[in-house]
Symmetry: C2
Subunit: 96 residues, 2 copies
């Protein structure tokens, strides 16, 4: 069952590092992506503003990245239990 | 600039096929995905309910798929001009 996201985006917002009830570090961020993509045989400009979350060591590393940084992430989509819209879960990232 | 989504999901809702002002076929659907994913060193159950859209020939093909079908899609994330939350744009899909 595929559930993979690969995204290069700018870190535009980062909340404070927090801890889950189980004591795992967690970080919620907002990312902005712009690129050109192929769709229905045409190239079009694409913009995506994406809510993302990271946990554990990835969250701790990401928390040290300044706003404005560009990163390429690998992750998956998940809808929070108490939410309606899917969020990107960052499993790993590279800081460009 | 990466912007790739790969997702296996069940088609749970499909609006009527429509046409963009430019006369291109367009279809909005709702997809539901469930799987187990690795995060912060642990395996966890993941559920995602995802708004998706397709255009052109892909939209026309997808419109013939019955609700309840399982498909694996390749696409990208984009935030609609008049919207807040990113939608998955389906560039291609395979019907399982």
């Amino acid at each position: 069952m595929d559930n993979r996201v690969a995204l290069t985006a700018c870190l535009i917002e980062a909340q404070a590092l927090r801890f889950t009830p189980g004591g795992v570090s967690a970080l919620s961020v907002l990312l902005e992506h712009e690129s050109r993509q192929q769709e229905a045989g045409q190239e079009r400009q694409v913009r995506a503003v994406v809510k993302a979350v990271a946990f554990g060591e990835v969250a701790e590393r990401l928390a040290r990245l300044p706003v404005g940084s560009v990163l390429t992430l690998q992750g998956f989509l998940a809808t929070p239990r108490n939410g309606k819209h899917p969020v990107v879960h960052i499993q790993e990232y590279q800081h460009d």
